[in-house]
Symmetry: C2
Subunit: 353 residues, 2 copies
């Protein structure tokens, strides 16, 4: 598959289907794994790194993935293509901006991606729409086992899986859910959520992981600790908290609908009107406006769009996607024009039901 084919569709995790998918965008498990008998990457020479990449690709290229896999060697891709993979949540920003031999194996439905030579030899990600962390973990567990049949992991009976960064030692697992919480943000209740969540050892991050701020009212909730707890305990911990946040968001939405319906509708429809008519629009404003439109679709104020279409717009309006869609390099101000143009096309005419 050509990388450019990616832009004609979005990953299955963005369909908007799945439990609580109006509020929970996705459930994600990521494992950090390293090979036994090989240096950690921060100690490895370029040729040792290249050896690892070759070795792992050889072992994994035929591993069964949903709808088969595609391998992209990042060091052979242009910056724009690497950024495209970041925008689709298939690789991390670090993996994109890293150096040397490295790659990613991506399943056709984009629900699975296996990064080779990111921070660790392997970073394995499974992503599903909606709130289904246990299901995601079970699938990940199978995938992890089938990788372990092909390679030997660096493992200590005392510490568990060994990783470059001590914060990942143990399970090597990061479980996270991406939440869309516009009502909690609008009513400034979101800080309460942060406080409760951090009290029980969970972290809150923005749309593109560590170090990014929450934009478009999207928040990732994930475990901080990887050591001293089983994978299932971590999954259950998050799995017990998220439904409470979902209920909280839902309650606030209902309150807004009963007490300030006109103001809420005003916010939603103004956002829609701006997206449908703007001629110049930044990425940040797009996220904010799409967030309001997404809320409007969920609350059945807007019925000419479905959640899958809105979810897709979040991805397709990002810088690398736009440049791929318009098939040329665009600077920031040209992108703002192209973005407005693209969104207008999607919201009027065939793109909209």
């Amino acid at each position: 598959m050509q990388l450019s084919e990616l832009i004609s569709k979005t990953g299955s995790w963005l369909t908007g289907k799945g439990p609580e998918a109006d509020i929970v965008i996705s459930s994600r498990i990521r494992l950090a794994r390293n090979l036994e008998g090989r240096k950690f990457l921060y100690q490895a020479s370029d040729s040792e790194k290249a050896d690892v990449e070759r070795f792992l690709y050889g072992k994994l290229e035929n591993i069964p993935l949903p709808g088969n896999g595609n391998y992209f060697r990042l060091d052979e891709l242009e910056t724009l293509d690497r950024l495209l993979l970041v925008e689709r949540h298939l690789i991390s920003k670090e993996h994109a901006s890293g150096s040397g031999a490295r790659g990613v194996l991506v399943s056709a439905n984009e629900g699975t991606s296996i990064m080779i030579n990111e921070e660790d030899h392997l970073r394995i990600q499974v992503l599903h729409p909606g709130l289904q962390l246990e299901q995601t973990w079970l699938e990940m567990n199978d995938l992890d086992s089938s990788i372990e049949e092909r390679v030997n992991y660096a493992f200590s009976p005392k510490f568990g899986y060994l990783t470059c960064c001590p914060t990942n030692v143990g399970t090597g697992m990061r479980a996270s859910v991406m939440l869309h919480l516009p009502a909690l943000v609008m009513t400034k209740q979101i800080t309460k959520v942060f406080e409760s969540v951090s009290k029980i050892g969970l972290a809150v991050r923005g749309l593109y992981g560590e170090g990014t701020y929450a934009s478009g009212d999207f928040y990732q909730i994930s475990n901080q600790l990887t050591l001293g707890k089983t994978e299932m305990a971590i999954v259950e911990n998050i799995g017990s908290v998220v439904p409470q946040i979902v209920r909280y968001e839902r309650t606030v939405r209902e309150t807004l609908m009963s007490q300030s319906k006109a103001l809420l509708e005003d916010r939603v429809w103004r956002a829609y009107g701006l997206l449908k008519n703007a001629r110049v629009i930044s990425s940040e404003e797009t996220l904010d406006l799409l967030s309001a439109v997404r809320l409007g679709v969920n609350l059945e104020m807007i019925n000419r769009l479905d959640i899958g279409q809105v979810n897709a717009l979040f991805i397709l309006t990002q810088p690398a996607h736009l440049q791929k869609i318009f098939k040329k390099k665009l600077d920031t101000s040209s992108r703002d024009l192209a973005r407005a143009d693209f969104i207008r096309g999607k919201l009027s005419g065939n793109g909209v039901k």
Copy 2:
């Protein structure tokens, strides 16, 4: 004619026709006149005031006006109805909020209105679309003469027409044009216009005359002095300045179109998108957004509306008009809902070409 019939149409001066009508909304002449042998109103008792009203109505009720006239006795109208007349520029705010016997004779096309017992016994207004101050003056001169055939004006060979306020003595005339100057405002060149205009003894005021601030990028330019100059000289003074301002606005529009077309289009279409989608909208925001839409129609960016329709929206979305249209008293926040509703109706469906 019932007052409520007014809301089904707008005055002929709002059609958007006439010379330079894209920039010059209207040309207006107003004369202040008093009756010979009667006290100025600030000295008159209630019954003397009532006498003047009765006398003048009797003399003027059959005066020929375009399409015949309608007389409204303001002291018999509800506040809302008086406000309606203010919003249509048929009476002044002062006339609406005054006390005692007073009224206004309005021509069917709303181009002429004769206020009885405003500040002076008579305030006569002639209003035309576009830049046609001389034509307006000629028509006013005829009207003034035919009134003078019926009543005797207070006139001094030395000072001219005598008025309550010394600033009106002499010609008793205020000539003004209403300009729509969005490009000069946008590029902050408008202060230069103010400076030049005030240097030659002209005044700049907002949409509803003295003491109102310019909203929706509308400015009234009028003479300060009424004494020591003939009416024609006053008209010619304004008539020589306004075309320069019009040219200035036009040049800036052209520059914006050639240098920042996308940003200008963005501004215009965002305004249109907000008006078409908002569920709650204030009077002030409506003026600002309509101003951008008006510019867009003039620049042929928006072709689904004509200037007459946009001009009408400026009037019809004012508080009293809204309450008349919705046939009930509405407080500010109910008006903001009703206004959004009304505008949406006008911009989608039959209201729009």
